[in-house]
């Protein structure tokens, strides 16, 4: 009988951590999230391209009657969101080391910060909607589509983290470790997107 633990048999923290350390090929779950991220990147690529296409075809950007976007608050909020990369990164490391408790705490901290970020962003989004509705100009249309799409991705990331938090309560297994990896990779992508989105959003004021 082989003494090497198979990934399917890794149903406890230490064995799952041992399997993860020994793994040389990426599991299919990680390939799956990378493919998903590729499709999301294509979606945001088209949104950014649309924004700049409109920009280069408009003499006034934003159009007359629409005030320039704020700079400080979106930058601060994005900075806060991007800072959650740190607890998410260390949560992933803790999970790989077989420490479910520390991973849970770090994911929870990240989720709290992301929740606060999302709350303020929703308030700002609704406030902007009342000032320049998306059906009035191409600028407003792409502005709200881009921001709305990013906020939707933040929600998906938070739901993914919530799911991971629930699973980690039962300890670490090989499958849960892959789930943690999937959630962390997705958050890195959402945070990277946030940087692109915020600079596109505040560009008219720069």
């Amino acid at each position: 009988m082989s003494e090497v633990t198979r990934s399917m048999e890794a149903t406890s923290g230490p064995t799952a951590a041992r399997v993860a350390r020994r793994r040389v090929a990426m599991p299919n779950g990680v390939w799956g999230v990378l493919l998903f991220i590729a499709t999301e990147a294509a979606l945001f690529g088209t949104l950014f391209a649309t924004y700049w296409y409109f920009r280069f075809n408009s003499p006034h950007w934003p159009p007359q009657g629409v005030e320039d976007p704020k700079v400080a608050l979106p930058l601060i909020l994005t900075g806060i969101l991007v800072s959650t990369t740190i607890p998410v990164f260390f949560a992933g490391r803790a999970a790989r080391a077989g420490n479910a408790r520390l991973a849970w705490i770090l994911f929870f901290v990240a989720l709290l910060i992301q929740g606060g970020y999302f709350g303020v962003q929703v308030h700002e989004f609704l406030s902007d909607l009342s000032k320049f509705p998306p059906n009035e100009t191409a600028y407003a249309s792409i502005y709200f589509t881009l921001l709305g799409a990013h906020h939707a991705h933040v929600v998906v990331g938070m739901l993914l983290e919530l799911w991971v938090l629930g699973k980690l309560l039962g300890g670490i297994t090989n499958y849960r470790l892959i789930g943690v990896r999937v959630a962390t990779y997705y958050w890195y992508f959402v945070n990277l997107l946030a940087i692109g989105v915020v600079f596109t959003q505040i560009y008219p004021s720069l």
Partner: protein, 125 residues
Amino acid sequence: MKANRRLELTMWMGLLGAPIVWACQHVFGFGVTQAGCSIGSKSWNVPIDTYTAIATSLAGALAIAGLVASVLAYRAVRDADIDAEPPGGRIYFMSICGIVISPLFLAIILMSGIATLILSNCHQG
């Protein structure tokens, strides 16, 4: 070992073939439309419909080739399953992804090309 590498290559061609071809068709179509409809280049008389028909046919054929590559990769590892050791498990999973996405991209390629051919050029709506 060599057979595995060939199989992996077939899998990647099946997975990425149709999306890359669609991206190329999209960018090419945008360029042709800009060249054919912009004020500065209208005098060039770019044959938009001819270029679109050629690009759509070529892209459609390549997307079908991508689908065939995915089916071939899947058939080679069909006895494996999603949790099998790599490369078998990976090829199994990725070839299924290729089989799912290639027809979708083929549909996008055809709809985009046919719409350009049916609708009148250089007009909105």
